[in-house]
């Protein structure tokens, strides 16, 4: 009996350790480093990235390209990372070698948000040679802090980092009077989810040179704004079959690729023909990019011959192909109302799981254990654990997408209303705070009929472009959702997560 009890305790402990491993790590986190550079994963070398960054030490912008290798280990929530840079610009005769080691500590707060703080594990090494002059790092400071707000469908991140680096120009001693100090203050914004991930860093760089020239001290300064962004994108393309005698219609191809862009505006003194700084400030600006090869994936071809030509055929086909709508499609009925259970299944299938950081090696002790089976308890008293949609309903409940229909019930077989559906979608996105509380005068003529719980969600969904008023300006909160309307709604959600969100996190930060 005692042995049995010990076994159960040890199983419980192991399970607790495994559950404690942070699964919500950002997919794009860290792959750019914190130097204002961009990267693309090298498909042949593990942990290695093609990397580019701008260097302003010489007083002119120099694009450095090469490799960045990242090694990370996660030990009880503390991540130790080593970033190794090997960069050069042969045309301008510049090379750089840099090794930086960081330690990141994470803390999960009572509301589920995760704070991260990163510091240097040890003094980094960095040597740059440009035109025969050596710039050697002699002092470095770094701190970084990020908040992650995990929402059911998306993890949102925002943070800051600060770097100060002092380079000795020529001899590498602290007494060397020839120094260049680079101060960088960066803000980073990122989100992680299945359909796209983006991290954008906006960095203000200040360069201060204290050098000795032939006629005494030469001091000059410059500033730059660097915006670096990494993104993972997805696209769906319908591919028509050319042979006539083939068992299936053309199908959808999912393309996935990474794209990185770096744009900078630097204001640096113009240098004269003797390479001395002048008072005229020259503005340099440019944009550079890296992109990965496109990975394609053929999707299942559903059996939807009975809806060929139907106005919502495309979203329905894509959702079946992506297995967001379960089944083969043969039983899809136009006009059929969707139940709450069916909608939650489609929504959770559409959100998919948030990817994890590919560079992290989690240190865990694996022990053979016999699995103890505890009886599963449904969160709702009207959804049994053997209900066909049980897993999706449980997942939606656990992620906070739904709290049920009241009194401990979920009402799985009740037809879902538009208000309920929109509320669930906006909860999944975690964006309800975009509306004032309580929002009034939503751009719907039937605003007063919208249930209180869904009013903010209706406003937010409208402002995100997920729903629009009908021809009479109504929201129609109590309307039941048909199969095809639901397919359109979920497809628009996927498109929003894939194409629209990135504009806010990358394009607009670069543009304004």
């Amino acid at each position: 009996m005692q042995k049995m009890l010990k076994k159960m305790i040890s199983v419980f402990i192991i399970a607790a350790v495994i559950l404690g491993i942070p699964l919500n790590t950002m997919a794009v986190e860290g792959s750019m480093g914190y130097e204002g550079g961009i990267s693309i994963e090298n498909q042949t070398e593990k942990d290695e990235y093609q990397y580019s960054e701008m260097c302003f030490l010489t007083g002119k912008p120099v694009l450095l390209t090469g490799t960045l290798t990242i090694k990370k280990t996660d030990k009880s929530g503390e991540i130790n990372a080593t970033y190794t840079y090997r960069l050069s610009n042969p045309d301008q005769n510049v090379t750089m070698n840099r090794v930086v080691m960081y330690t990141t500590k994470k803390e999960t707060k009572s509301n589920g948000q995760i704070t991260e703080s990163t510091t240097l594990s040890r003094t980094p090494t960095e040597v740059i040679t440009a035109g025969g002059i050596t710039y050697r790092l002699i002092d470095a400071q770094f701190s970084r802090s990020v908040l992650t707000d995990p929402k059911p469908g998306i993890n949102y991140n925002a943070g800051e980092f600060y770097t100060k680096k002092v380079y000795a120009v020529g001899a590498a001693t602290l007494n060397n009077p020839n120094t260049i100090t680079v101060d960088m203050y960066g803000k980073l914004y990122a989100y992680d989810q299945f359909w796209s991930s983006t991290q954008t860093q906006k960095i203000n760089v200040l360069i201060e040179a204290n050098l000795t020239g032939n006629n005494g001290p030469v001091k000059w300064g410059g500033a730059a704004e660097v915006i670096a962004s990494n993104a993972r994108r997805n696209k769906f393309q319908y591919s028509v079959n050319e042979p006539y005698q083939i068992s299936f219609d053309g199908g959808y191809v999912k393309s996935t690729w990474d794209e990185s862009s770096l744009s900078y505006t630097a204001r640096l003194p113009e240098f004269d023909s003797n390479n001395n700084p002048t008072d005229v400030i020259k503005t340099y600006s440019d944009t550079r990019s890296l992109s990965s090869a496109i990975e394609t994936q053929r999707l299942m071809v559903p059996d939807l011959k009975h809806i060929r030509g139907f106005w919502a055929e495309e979203p329905i086909k894509i959702l079946y192909s992506l297995e967001v709508i379960p089944g083969t499609g043969a039983d899809f009925k136009i006009g059929k109302y969707v139940t709450r259970a069916e909608f939650v299944t489609m929504l959770t299938n559409a959100l998919k799981d948030i990817p994890v950081d590919p560079n992290v090696r989690t240190v865990t002790v694996v022990r053979r254990q016999t699995k103890a089976t505890a009886p599963e308890i449904s969160p709702f008293n009207d959804v049994s654990t053997d209900h066909p949609n049980y897993e999706a309903i449980k997942k939606a409940y656990q992620k906070g997408i739904t709290r049920g229909s009241g009194n401990g019930r979920f009402s799985p077989n009740t037809y879902i209303t538009k208000a309920e559906a929109i509320k669930m979608i906006v909860s999944a996105l975690g964006l309800e705070n975009l509306a004032p509380y309580p929002y009034t005068s939503a751009p719907f003529s039937d605003n007063d009929q919208i249930p209180d719980y869904a009013r903010n969600a209706a406003f937010v969904a409208n402002s995100l472009g997920l729903i629009y008023p009908d021809e009479a300006g109504r929201f129609n909160p109590n309307a039941k959702l048909s199969n095809e309307f639901t397919a359109n709604l979920i497809y628009d959600l996927i498109r929003y997560m894939g194409d629209e969100l990135i504009k806010d996190y990358r394009d607009r930060i670069m543009e304004f």
């Binding site: 610009n89 113009e270 309580p438």
Partner: protein, 542 residues
């Protein structure tokens, strides 16, 4: 003992009495006994009459049948002494806008004592479609259009600094912070795109196919429309140009014929198609370089041509390197139109309009009489460039040096204006000035041999592998050359001419003084050359 009990009872009763809110309108007390302020979202704020109406706390109150109840229950009055904060700043009642989320504290008479508001502006992104005296319309990123009224007080920002209405140009991307309750629109600010993505080129080419997987147009025989000429691309063969995500339309499958398209830099720095028109076949095309007299009924009227030139929704209109709606091309604008034969007239494929802007730059040449280091230069007498000839004035003139502005070019290239001192007395220099403020001083030699033409080649520049310019052009070849005979005051046709450009040559283009990196193949220039070695000393781009 009994008296103590009475006293305690009296204290309790008094305390209870004091705790009852004097104002019956005041919102419900919380369980902890504290008074909750009135809260809600502003439906209407009338500072003239001194009242504010909030929607019901549950967010309802938009339908007319609720209006009377809303006015009687959720309208509150305020006087001059009301304390107002919005977004954490002390402000005036006028700044409270419909849509604000507010907390209201009433005094004992039921009047508003304090209002604390939070705005809920949201960004709207789009390109300016049209602009009027006090309004703009924008084409939003989603493809819909929006109208936004402006006042003289609407804050406009460019590059993060205060701007003005003149910074709002058709074709420019803007971010408008708006708060609307469906009827009222309040604009907190308009931000103009930091580094406007200008049209990088207008091209035509034979369509090979549309590559849907790479979202690209594949074309051959590409030509670029520069200064009203179709110039062959240095790229030989078949080229792929990606579509911008901003442009939603894609060509039909099996598209063929001629494609006209404009490109802009995307966020990754690559040129992407932002406008495209497909014309079947390769009909006869003609180019009109003229002044627009009017646009009406799908036709444009030109000053020097009686041809009927139509335009349609596919006509690509570019003004000052911005893709615009054709209605933004104004009467008397100088335009270059590429049009194809259509019926008895022409159909415009591309229309380009560039405003003339010289920024008031004047070129002088004179012998230095005096230099006040870092401050000014005085010339004994001077010649001022007028077209391609020099007009001499026999009086001294003083120009101001501004260290951060004034550039200095000497025989070695870029010099340092801090070192420009009295040792330069007696030397003859070129001065490019805006008013009396010197933009550039150059020690380049005297030039008096004018020529004009169109640049066909630019040579001598070096780039790194990433395309970054390392050294400027040192030579150019011009065609359609005209040589000015100073003695006869006549332009005479000449052969294609190769012109070397020294390091202290002066280049003026689009109101800017710069280096030869400003020049582009196709540019029409006037160049004043050295009389002996015929080096291009002054290059002025028309």
């Amino acid at each position: 003992m009994r008296s103590i009990k009475v006293i305690i009872m009296l204290i309790l009763v008094a305390a209870l009495a004091l705790s009852i809110p004097c104002n019956s309108i005041f919102a419900a007390s919380s369980n902890t006994g504290g008074e909750e302020p009135i809260k809600g979202v502003v439906k209407d704020n009338n500072p003239s009459l001194g009242y504010i109406t909030l929607y019901f706390e549950d967010g309802s109150g938009t339908q007319p049948d609720k209006l009377e109840r809303l006015i009687s229950i959720r309208t509150f009055t305020y006087g001059y002494d009301v304390v107002v904060t919005r977004d954490g700043y002390t402000t005036i009642p006028e700044s409270i806008q419909p849509g604000d989320q507010v907390f209201i504290k009433l005094d004992s008479d039921g009047y508003i004592q304090k209002i604390s508001a939070q705005s809920f502006y949201r960004p709207v992104y789009g390109r300016i479609q049209n602009k009027g005296y006090n309004w703009i319309t924008i084409k939003k990123d989603g493809g819909t259009y929006g109208y936004y009224p402006l006042t003289n007080y609407t804050p406009i920002y460019k590059n993060g600094k205060p701007g003005s209405m003149s910074d709002l140009l058709p074709g420019e991307k803007v971010k408008i912070l708006v708060q609307t309750d469906g009827i009222n629109i309040d604009i907190a600010s308009i931000d103009v795109e930091k580094n406007p993505r200008l049209v990088t080129g207008v091209y035509r080419g034979t369509v090979e196919f549309y590559d849907s997987m790479r979202d690209s147009l594949v074309v051959s025989n590409i030509q670029e429309f520069v200064n009203g000429y179709w110039i062959n691309s240095p790229f030989i063969g078949i080229q792929r140009i990606r579509y911008s995500e901003e442009l939603r339309e894609r060509p039909m499958p099996r598209v063929s014929g001629m494609a006209y398209f404009a490109t802009q830099k995307a966020s990754d720095g690559t040129d992407r198609i932002v406008a495209a028109a497909f014309r079947s076949g390769q009909p006869y095309t003609s180019i009109f370089r003229d002044t627009l007299m009017g646009l009406a009924g799908g036709r444009m009227e030109l000053q020097n041509s009686s041809e009927i030139i139509r335009f349609d929704e596919k006509t690509i209109a570019i003004k000052d390197q911005r893709l615009v709606d054709i209605s933004n091309i104004n009467t008397l604008d100088s335009i270059k139109v590429s049009a194809e034969r259509a019926g008895s007239g022409y159909l415009a494929n591309v229309l380009v309009c560039d405003s003339i802007n010289n920024n008031g730059l004047t070129v002088y040449r004179g012998r230095i009489k005096d230099v006040v280091k870092h401050t000014s230069i005085t010339v004994e007498s001077f010649a001022q460039l007028d077209g391609v000839t020099w007009e001499f004035t026999n009086t001294p003139k003083t120009f101001d040096i501004e260290l951060g502005v004034t550039r200095f070019l000497n025989d070695s290239g870029i010099g340092n204006i801090r070192e420009f001192d009295s040792s330069y007395k007696g030397q003859t220099v070129y001065i490019v000035a805006q008013g009396t403020k010197i933009q550039l001083i150059s020690t380049a030699p005297y030039a008096d041999s004018p020529a004009s033409g169109r640049i066909t080649e630019l040579n001598g520049a070096t780039y790194d592998s990433s395309g970054q310019l390392l050294a400027d052009y040192t030579n150019m070849v011009i065609t359609d050359t005209m040589i000015y005979d100073v003695e006869e005051s006549l332009w005479k046709a000449g052969n294609d001419t190769s012109i070397d450009i020294p390091v202290h040559a002066i280049v003026l283009k689009d109101g800017k003084v710069g280096s030869t990196s400003l020049l582009k193949t196709g540019d029409e220039i006037k160049v004043i050359r050295h009389a002996q070695n015929l080096e291009g000393i002054l290059i002025i781009c028309d």
